[in-house]
């Protein structure tokens, strides 16, 4: 009763799509960053599914590094958001048009 790899891929695609929807329709940059985290998670899920299918640990290795990069990305990304909030007092992406400062 092992879970087929196609199930993992289907869930991964669905979660990725939810993340895409969130990035495209939300205005709050924090929620957009959360949706990016969700997309990273979806990709990790595909890696784990394949690692289980091929019985190789390399896929899990990649997930390990993706998580590290995600942590670094969140630290810098949220610092950027805080810096922008100090300047513009907004977290809505459509009010960030910085080229028209």
């Amino acid at each position: 009763m092992v879970v087929p790899v196609s199930y993992y891929l289907a869930l991964s695609v669905a979660l990725f799509a939810l993340g895409v929807i969130g990035v495209l329709i939300r205005r709050n940059v924090l929620v957009i960053l959360m949706c990016i985290e969700m997309m990273l998670n979806a990709v990790n899920l595909a890696f784990i599914g394949f690692a289980d299918y091929f019985k190789a640990v390399d896929g899990q290795m990649f997930v390990f590094f993706v998580m590290t990069v995600a942590a670094a990305e969140v630290a810098v990304g949220l610092a950027l958001i805080v810096a922008i909030f100090r300047n513009r007092a907004t977290v809505y992406v459509d009010e960030f048009n910085i080229l028209k400062w």
């Binding site: 092992v2 979660l15 939810l18 329709i25 959360m34 990790n44 640990v57 290795m61 805080v82």
Partner: protein, 165 residues
């Protein structure tokens, strides 16, 4: 086994939807934590115990704490206001684009013909097999990771502290 997968997948999808369609950022963040837990459960199903533990520690434990601190720091009490410049077409367009992405991904996945899976070598996925690989084949990425973390520290401190004084 498949029943557990379907339950966890259902939880992950519902909470993921709540993250996206919830108007309040704090609630989005809390639902995202549940989502991470469900995905960690699926990692367990896929014999990735160590990754599942890391998922809970790093994502649910550390990253979401940072998100919650920033939400409280910016004091975002009100739910997301309606856009001043964006019109409704953007929402519809976004969802259409996302559906298109899904179709493209499904098409790409369908093109792949997978070779049959192998029989499991003993002890796959435990911490030891990951560790052996990490400190031999993936030695250089491991060391470069420390540089990445260093850059993240410096960048975040410069950005967050510059106007503090």
């Amino acid at each position: 086994m498949q029943i557990i997968f379907f339950i966890l997948a259902g939880v992950a999808l519902v909470t993921g939807g709540l993250v996206v369609f919830q108007r309040h950022p704090l609630r989005s963040a809390l639902w995202l934590i549940v989502n991470f837990f469900a995905v960690a459960g699926i990692y367990l199903l896929a014999h990735a115990e160590f990754i599942a533990a890391i998922q809970v520690i790093v994502y649910a434990g550390a990253i979401m704490v940072l998100f919650l601190f920033v939400i409280m720091l910016l004091n975002l009490r009100e739910p997301e206001a309606e856009a001043k410049f964006m019109h409704l077409g953007q929402k519809v367009g976004g969802i259409i684009l996302a559906v298109f992405t899904v179709l493209l991904l499904i098409y790409g996945v369908m093109q792949v013909v997978l070779p049959p899976g192998k029989a499991a070598p003993p002890g796959l996925g435990n911490t030891e097999s990951i560790a052996r690989l990490l400190f031999t084949d993936y030695l250089l990425p491991f060391e470069v990771t420390s540089v990445l973390l260093l850059v993240a520290i410096v960048g975040a401190v410069v950005l967050a502290k510059s106007k503090l004084k």
